[in-house]
Amino acid sequence: MADGGIGAPTKRREDVRFLTGHGSYTDDYTPNHTTYCAFARSLVANGKINGIDTSAAEAMPGVVAVFTGDDFTEVGGNPAGWAINSRDGEPMKEPKRPVLAHGKVRHVGDAYAAVVAETLEQALDAVEAIEADIEELDAVIDMADALANSSNLVHDEIGTNQCFDWGWIEDNRAATDEAIKNAPHVTTLELVNNRLVPNAMEPRASIGEYNPGSGDYKLTTTSQNPHLTRLLISAFVMGIPENKLTVHAPDVGGGFGSKIYHYGEEALVLAAAKKLGRPVKWTSTRTEAFLTDAHGRDHVTKIELACEKDGTFIAFRTETMANVGAYLSNFSTATPTFLHGTLMAGNYTVPNVYVNVKAVFTNTAPVDAYRGAGRPEATFSLERVIDKCARELGMDPVAIRRKNFVQPDQYPFASAAGLEYDSGNYPALMDGLEKVADLSGFEARRKESEARGRLRGLGINSYIEACGIAPSNLVGVLGSRVGLYDAATVRVNATGSISVMVGAHSHGQGHETAFPQVVADLLGVDPMSVEIVHGDTSKIPFGMGTYGSRSLAVCGSAVYRATEKIITKATLIAAHMMDEAPDKVDFEDGIFSVAGTNKTVGFGDVALKAYIPHEFPIEEIEPGLEETAFYDPANFTYPSGAYACEVEVDPETGKVDICSMVAMDDFGTVVNPMIVTGQVQGGLAQGIGQALLEHGIYDENGQLLSGSLMDYAMPRADDLPNVVVDHSHATRCTHNPIGVKGCGEAGAIGSPPTVVNAVVDALQRGGHNVEHIDMPVSPARVWEAINR
């Protein structure tokens, strides 16, 4: 292994530019002659546009153009990437999502006009001068009301507020119903998975450029997946051919899902740039981010767990209403279905699972994948109801989980929710957790808390997620409209430096450090000789981007495969240089050699030969040393974990303090443990935020009450504990070449039920008969539960 190869906690090379102010984020870029764009956004949740008078705005100083929905009736809509059929076989309802609202505004913040001016201030002033006659209609907010009431619709043309009514697996429905009917014990829990606002710290921004001489467009934008954005703009929204459109996502300040999607502002700045022949720049304010970035979660769920008296699980049945907001965002239909329903068997050998999901349109911001995307919702429902069940049966929460775990000798394991888990060792994770979290010492700590007037509780959780998104053949059958492979080109330059062009985008994940570790490991070269190029469709072969904990598992595997191809070709060149048959040549630690001889040639010399092909067998081997691989995974990857959290509740105020949080995860091979630990810490922060603090709340008129950083409780440094992250209990992924499973979402998936289980446990141990508290478990909610 090369120094700094797979497994080394290498410092991140990208840090230096971020620490010195030399990052280049989208808003840092201002091309010459830039104009500035600002949007007029709806103040009402549901409204009929009777007319928009832009004449006063057009006459304002510095204004160069004003756009309304009328200007975009010819362009296509922003599509959903996943087609879901309802239980009766009906295709989902797909109302058009226009660039600018036309006819109706459907959520507060829905853009109905845009101004482009010489300066941002002039654009903002002119937005104020737009006269919009918008007739406010009753807002559709509550999901149950939305389904019950078909006279008040978000989209009149579809005749319903239901997008789909999906069953998974529909063929298992009758057997699951029957099993629950006949079960000796059934635990039922109704719960809400609270709506979250992603709040990546960098607000979205987009700059459109058009070269009238060549007809080329360029979009610089805050995207997790520039090729996907290009595909959506080219194939669906604007019809610009891919070879005339460059999408560049430079440094991006966090995404967490919210920057996967194509948004109307991107199409607008491109269209405006073409019309004006000048660059057009838009940067979101935080207020716009709250109102228009795709939100996360927002499920209302009833789950039933049927089991034997000894705690052996018989069936899980889930009914969920999933809010999709006012329009279908790109992954919004996959998130509550195939990223949620398929995980509803958890880590368990339960034989019957059935999930019903009704997706509901409301007059709220679109809801889509946010860190974890469907899997946190699945884990929360499951692990909360298991905890309640254990309590009802008088069982220990660790014991009931252990009793039902898939065992290490059962892989590959076909789960009752339709997935084939390839690897894992849930009992070992639980063993590790018991030790590291010192579960046997809990009682002593509880007594100590009690002596101080605090109620201490212990929360346990196990989770599994499906990551490495995703095998194209499988997701194609399930309705995906795209393939979910990834691509990489490894270019060995003449002097031996290496450029690797990858389809995954790094916006905090440290790809620029971790991917070279993989290449260096295979080639036996210094990782610092390997540079990663990402984010620019004109430089990289293709790629589906970064989300779903997929970068290393899918794109990293493409890097691995392309590097293997490099070794294959380099071996041919080395064989020629040493005048030996290629099958006699070995390659190790950067040196080609021939066993039984003293012939060797270094990797660098082979690279040079590839580019200066003198005395080169040109009929057999092409010059150059560059290879591309597309990698399509054979299966999802299945990271899993066991988490423990201890909390103290102040019964006087209802305030919850986290005393400890231990995350024991199986991510398969760990390439850079420092980065992996950081990813889990970040995921835990968002999960703890969901559990204790964060809530995107709309009032009945569709106003976002928690619509600023003063109202929405983002976790701050003094809200979060130090956490213990352990990824030593790893089992390799069996189907990708690195053996890696993905770590980005784990913390956000595993922690919310762990925290809530701990709070409920604390209250129960304190003599309060509280079965459940919805997130965020705020002091007010806890106090109310205690004093009910």
Binding site: K11, G21, H22, M201, G253, Q681, L709, R716, D718
Partner: protein, 160 residues
């Protein structure tokens, strides 16, 4: 339009602004010092922290005209001219105190103000001081460790 002149990172610089222009905007747009970031519109996130006359300030909460004649230090002036990191910056790299990097300039500027005021803060003091700096990526553990380490306190190092 008013002209403001400031001594930024030791160099005198001027730019034209509107009366309503915020210092954060003047730095980024007028002076092309884009290391200072803007993450919110309610003075909550701290991505824009700079030092004005030696005091940590959220540059979005101050008008550019108020800074006329002031000495301003930004993230661009923290490393040595040859690019080598200062103690705080180096600690952030060693302790994985950043991921996407967007909050980082504000974090570094706040950390340096904290250590000037309180050269050996406790962990709780660090966490309290960072109340006005939001990071969505890291969960703060790496940031807190970095600041403790930069103050000379013993923290296990995360990186090689």
């Amino acid at each position: 339009m008013p002209n403001v002149t400031m001594t930024i990172n030791g160099r005198e610089m001027s730019t034209e602004v509107e009366n309503r222009t915020l210092l954060s905007t003047a730095l980024r747009e007028g002076l092309k010092l884009t290391g200072t970031h803007i993450g919110c519109d309610t003075s909550q996130c701290g991505a824009c922290v700079v030092h004005v006359d030696g005091v940590a300030v959220k540059s979005c909460s101050m008008l550019a005209v108020e800074a006329d004649g002031a000495t301003v230090d930004t993230i661009e002036g923290q490393a040595s001219p040859d690019g080598s990191l200062n103690v705080i910056q180096q600690a952030f790299q060693d302790h994985h105190g950043l991921q996407c990097g967007f909050c980082t300039p504000g974090m570094v500027m706040s950390a340096s103000a904290l250590l000037k005021e309180n050269p050996k803060p406790t962990e709780q003091e660090v966490r309290d001081y960072l109340e006005g700096n939001i990071c969505r990526c890291t969960g703060y553990q790496g940031i807190v460790n970095a600041i403790l380490a930069a103050s000379g306190q013993d923290v296990a190092i995360a990186a090689e």
